[in-house]
Symmetry: C2
Subunit: 459 residues, 2 copies
């Protein structure tokens, strides 16, 4: 619970005895584990058809973090007199199916139950149980999630329409599989974010990669680079530095939500140097600024860990082909290569990715027409400054499969805790739209239920 | 292939290398097995959007049997210039995941992958592959199935709307789970079938159980019963005889489709005896008639076998609570008892049934309102003489979730091979309705596709 001991007292933490394997009956399938969930009933209007249950479909993080930071659904709860249920995703946080993390992440025999379909079935089973315990079988349930959790929320609505009447899927890149979205989509948005902020910033970054390699190749090159960038420890390679810079730019773009101004901070530092400043000194200024002016920068290696849940998911189902060619972006060429990707996963986990599984299970190239002809009640919200928005649903697909996007926002801005004093108008407007749509879903649900009751009572 | 060597030459048998475990990444999950499928392209109009693919979602039987006997989809193919694909369900026929049947049915470690969700994912993966191989990505696919295969067809449409545009689910008792349908639904329809055929037949059967027990309790009682019923081998118990009679009545009702007249055959024999005939002699006449007048009746025991695929499915997911009280039906009381049921399954397979799984995964009490609000393009066809129709969908749930039922038909009558010379008018009319609806689905699919192409071409 470290780091989350600030969870307000309205939030109560419980464990549910969850089935290990919903889709099998092997000797170990009926094993159970403690799945963590959090409830908040402060605003709940009770077991009736007008007081909804909002379920946060947990993602690749401990669930307390969500409950602490994703405060929009608390506002939703107060508006709709809703019950809040946050469910931790299996293999994250404390929801470890085989005791602790190290046992659960031991090998594919323990990790093998770590799939999105199992997670969705977890949610279905737990929600059904909670509704029964609350005698709230008729209460409308709405799934809410962001990023991977947003994909889960939308897939949950598609696969379990008998459990949830709608879903708010924030920053859910459900189209970033196979070749539905161009591979350079992610990098192209990062590039656009920087270029729109400052043409000089963009071109400086774009030209810096070559210079880094040039310096590294010189005598004492790595030492010089370490000095220029004021790294806390000596660099191993120019690759290490370049990876670190790339990641800094990418996450600055992805998480550039109010009240932060991450890309702006980097670009102001880059643009603020005197003319004729050496290009790598300029880049170093940008990096330093993005780390808040630390006296030295801890350049860590980006080695994937076989104790990371998200690395496992990337190596199994969540094969999102992110890469780019030589001239697509402000980055060095980094083409996505499924063969290398597969080789790395076999090395890391001993597992072979299934790049076609998500599209087979949840829909692929034709998902848009399927959603428009079949699905209903899903909000796909995106901020167009979010690199993952390139794989998001950005157009209304029917009168209830709706895309709500903002030019300004980045990753999952709408789900953050509203700040009435400081939130920009576009964010307030985005959330208001979402609230109005959800209000309509609940009203429609009630209208149908009422007409059904009247039907049954008719002579 | 024994028994199916009559498969016409238009039918070609293939094997697909199928993934053992779609929902896991355990060491054995990526193992593959040969899944049998049959194609028939005789009528196919080729890879275009007006020539559909009909997929028979295989059920608890070898797939050649379906291809040989369920001829209605061949008629559909000829009408719609369709491609036919029959997929064998894993663990049936020759689609044994671990080599042969005895190895696949060894214990829960091999049987553990035998679930309906895995079967649906098999279908999704195989259909996707076949469409790709045929360059028929835009061809509309329609699922067809009967009984358990009918449930699979409707669930497939709900869970994989990106794979199939519609489903014809014949005699699919998707409501016969938990307590959605009264437990005595099945027995009540059998009773109605007999009673409607002959009040005397019904009351004779109803009164016979007590007499059987009475005779059995006398000296040489079992020998006398064996003589009365002309059994080929001596009876072990009155229970054995009663079970056998019950099963005869139940299957006579269930399969009472033209050109047969199974219940009528029994009842004519029962009604045809001279007045004052001893009641058990009368019952024996009925039994003898239903076996075509054999010189002796082989009364087999109804012991469930742990080599039976359907027994496994009943013992895991397909927990359909069929039972009745003392006065519900023409049978002796036989209440459904989940505890006994569970105990028997543990004994038989070492497995614990999950009676709530089907309703959690596919929808339960609220499935009707979910289907009407969410689903589309499903025909639920039923014959009201089919005992399983009691758990079927018998009302239109929306303008494209349609119930087509006949008073006359029994189990899966519509899927049988049409016989223009002998099929009764109600059956011809039922099939015509189904054809018209499917025609509409294909037309709508094409209209949407055409408007999409035009949209994309618009300036």
């Amino acid at each position: 619970m470290s780091g989350y001991d600030q969870l307000p007292p309205d939030f109560l933490v419980f464990n549910y005895t969850q089935t290990l394997d919903h889709f099998g009956f092997k000797p170990e399938s009926n094993m159970t584990f403690k799945q963590k969930y959090i409830i908040n009933s402060k605003y709940w209007g009770g077991a009736n058809t007008t007081s909804p249950i909002f379920v946060y479909t947990g993602d690749e993080a401990p669930i307390e973090g969500v409950a602490a930071y994703a405060g929009f659904i608390v506002e939703l709860a107060s508006r709709f007199k809703a019950f809040l249920l946050y469910i931790e995703h299996r293999y994250y946080g404390d929801s470890m199916p085989f005791g602790d993390r190290s046992k659960s992440f031991q090998d594919t025999s323990t990790l093998g139950y770590f799939t999105s379909a199992q997670a969705l079935a977890d949610y279905a089973q737990l929600i059904t149980c909670i509704k029964k315990n609350l005698s709230a079988q008729n209460s409308p349930v709405i799934a809410v999630g962001g990023s991977y959790g947003g994909m889960l929320a939308s897939w949950f609505r598609l696969k379990y329409p008998h459990i949830v009447i709608g879903a708010l899927a924030s920053s859910a890149p459900i189209l970033y599989f196979e070749d539905i979205t161009p591979h350079d989509g992610y990098g192209a948005v990062v590039t656009k974010d920087f270029r729109e902020t400052s043409e000089n910033c963009y071109s400086t970054i774009r030209e810096s990669w070559f210079e880094i390699d040039k310096v590294a190749a010189q005598t004492n090159g790595l030492m010089n680079l370490s000095n220029i960038f004021a790294t806390c420890m000596s660099l191993n390679s120019s690759r290490q530095l370049k990876n670190f810079l790339e990641l800094s730019y990418m996450s600055s773009a992805q998480y550039d939500n109010p009240p932060y101004d991450l890309v702006g901070t980097i670009c102001r530092a880059i643009d603020g140097v005197p003319q004729e400043t050496y290009i790598l000194d300029t880049i170093a200024k940008g990096l330093n600024a993005s780390f808040g002016g630390d006296s030295c920068i801890y350049v860590f290696d980006l080695k994937p860990s076989n104790q990371s849940g998200w690395e496992w998911q990337k190596c199994t189902e969540m094969v999102m082909p992110i890469g780019w060619g030589p001239n697509d972006t402000m980055f060095e060429a980094y083409p996505f290569d499924i063969n290398n990707y597969t080789r790395d996963c076999i090395q890391l986990f001993g597992v072979t990715p299934r790049p076609n599984w998500v599209t087979t299970e949840f829909g692929g190239h034709d998902i848009k027409s399927v959603l428009s002809n079949f699905g209903s009640n899903i909000i796909f919200s995106n901020g167009l400054r979010d690199p993952y928005s390139s794989g998001g649903v950005l157009q209304d697909l029917s009168d209830s499969i709706l895309a709500i996007y903002t030019n300004e926002g980045a990753h999952c801005a709408d789900l953050q805790t509203p700040d009435p004093n400081n939130d920009p108008q576009w964010l307030v407007a985005q959330r208001d739209k979402e609230i109005k749509i959800i209000e309509l879903w609940i009203a429609e649900y009630n209208a149908k239920l009422t007409s059904k009751v009247l039907d049954n009572k008719a002579p």
